[in-house]
Amino acid sequence: MLEVAIAGKQLTNAAGERFDVLGALTFRLSAGEVGAVVGPSGCGKTTLLRIIAGLDRDVQGRVALPPAARIGMVFQEPRLLPWRSVEDNIRLLAPDADEATLAKLFVTLELSAHRHHFPGELSLGLARRVALARAFAIKPDVLILDEPLVSLDAALAARLRDEIATLVDSRPVTTLLVTHSIDDAAKLADRIVLLSERPARILAEVPISVPRAARSATDIAAISAEIARLGGGIGPPADFAAPSRLTAPRR
Amino acid sequence: ADTIRLAVQKTGTVSWELKVIRDRGLDRDAGLDLEVTELASPEAGKIALRGGSADVIVTDWLWVSRERGLGARLLFYPYSSAVGAVMVPSASPITTLADLKGRKLAVAGGPIDKSWLLLQAAAKQDGIDLRSQASIAYGAPPLLAQKTLSGEMDATLNYWNFCAALEAKGFRRLVGIEELLPRLGAKGRVAMIGYVFDEGFAAAHGDAVARFIAMSRAAKEILASSDQAWDAIAPLTGAPDAATLRAYRDRYREGIPRRPIADEEADARALYRVLAATGGAEIVGPAAELDPGTYYRGLPGG
């Protein structure tokens, strides 16, 4: 379960100017639900995630997570410890993970060959997968993903998207996902939150009624079109537009 | 046996005497157990005494009087009257103090050195202000001795042991400080340095102090009369050759104090006034006169 009720958030830059990053933002994910946040570049998505993760408490309003929830987070950059091997990077944070789980994770993320490499020896795509592995390995109750699937080729991204879906369906992991890919959002999310330009407000909150596993290509195209219509400039070009059947905007 | 903790500079003459004392068993004879801490610099002894890590050190009466003026209860007993000298190369044109004008004079021990102050006072009587009329270089004594040897300095006022070493290398004594003392009001050679200890220690161990001083005197007599004794301590002196050792020996023997305490104190009092006049309060502290209790008089017949 995740409740966000933010009234506003300001930041101060080095020049000492204070400005609004977030406006009023309220939404809620039930336990096990997957939310996707979509919004223009620089609108405040990462700021929102940092607040939810508890990294920034200087905010008007409140964020409620289940007490003592384990948080797994994939930052927008990999944020690995350069001086520890791939395996150590994961084991350090997930000391309870057993060998079998790790091995399976490495296979899924196609990292088995890189277990003993240092982060500096990885390509960006590999490093991002390690960051994903780390978030999965701790068996999180809450999963916060900041553009988890960029810098991966389409086939791999698709497989990992399915993997996230499997994880979320196998255990109740409340997940919040920032993405610029409407396709990813349409395929993974139970609820899509569309944000405005900075200061970010909610343009629309789109619950998706068709269960993830049952969504057809047409369903997904329809959701994408709906998002494009609601989100102004953020969606794919207009030739994708199709009548909405599956989604019902709340505002 | 009584224990006396002694802090000495390893390269100083006290170490020479101690070697004689140990070799001849004088300490055993005197019923004393000497605990000697060897230190590497002259100031270390003062730290040892003030920090309570030593009972007896060797230093000068000027400091004792100054400390007494500041409240410390220290006592002084003459140890040696050997003092420094101004040394010049044998071929140097400098023959009198007046010739030092415009020359480079190296002064060991810095501006507060006793010999330096006395030399200035004597020169002043001749109408020479050495401080302004010669170019003065202060520095560490060994370094200055070397600088004079290498010709960078025209003359050096240095401690007696460095002067002895220079003498052995063919340098000439322009003037020994002891020669100036009569002109400054002293009646004879004054022992500038001596054993220094606390009043409390002397009061508690008066007998041991007496035996200690007697023992030291005995060692001095041996060094004064026996040339063999010098061969035994030669390695300690660091003398590179026989000539230097001979110079050390002769100067050491001259420096053995043999005058009554009262005479010593009277001369010290006179010199103190000279020092106070030349060096000011910075040197002597708040008192204008030698502190009357400076000299240890606890010895029978002392």
Partner: protein, 244 residues
Amino acid sequence: MLRLWSFATFLASWWVGSLLAGETLLPSPLTVLTAIVAEARSGALLFNLGVTLLRVALAFALAMSLGTALGYLMGRVRAADRFGDPWLILLLNLPALVVIVLAYIWAGLTETAAIAAIAINKLPNAVVTIREGTRALDPALDEMARVYAMPRWRAFRHVVLPQLAPFIAAAARSGLSLVWKIVLVAELLGRPNGVGFEIGTAFQLFDIARILAYALSFAALVQAIETLLVQPFERRASRWRRHA
């Protein structure tokens, strides 16, 4: 505010210490203040502080600039590191006394000898710190500068130097204190003035109040430089850091 508190704690503990130890062994703040005032009146304090500060400044500037250059070279070029390392360790572990004595012997009892000796003593420390900083440079930014064919000096100034800044700051701060420890020995052994000379003289007399008077005056001077010059500069230079 906190600084004031800190200063007050210091004064208080000193005062109590001197009460416990007695005036001769640890003079009270008041005694030392009197000594400072006396020295200041006579003009000696200002003169000696000035002389020492000049020596410190010259030796420090020499050692820091040369040390930064050498440290950077050794951090960058493998061969330079291999070649320079034994020299570095030798210099690093040569006692100050030895360097100073040798300098005085070779170059005479001159100002140049003193400053050179102090600089040589400090040099290896600067080299070691800057070399460590150079090794920690980010290769990613380096590559960026290379692809964009940034002129050497410009790349050094804008890409390398800001990364070295914390190391330079550390070298400077701890280096200043090292220089100051060594200038004292140099002045003690062969200079006719300066704080080290005065402290040496006072030490011969065991005049702790005067020793503290000079030592603390110098510390206060450095403190002032630190507060008025270094810290504002540092604040400006690290504006870009994300404030937590």
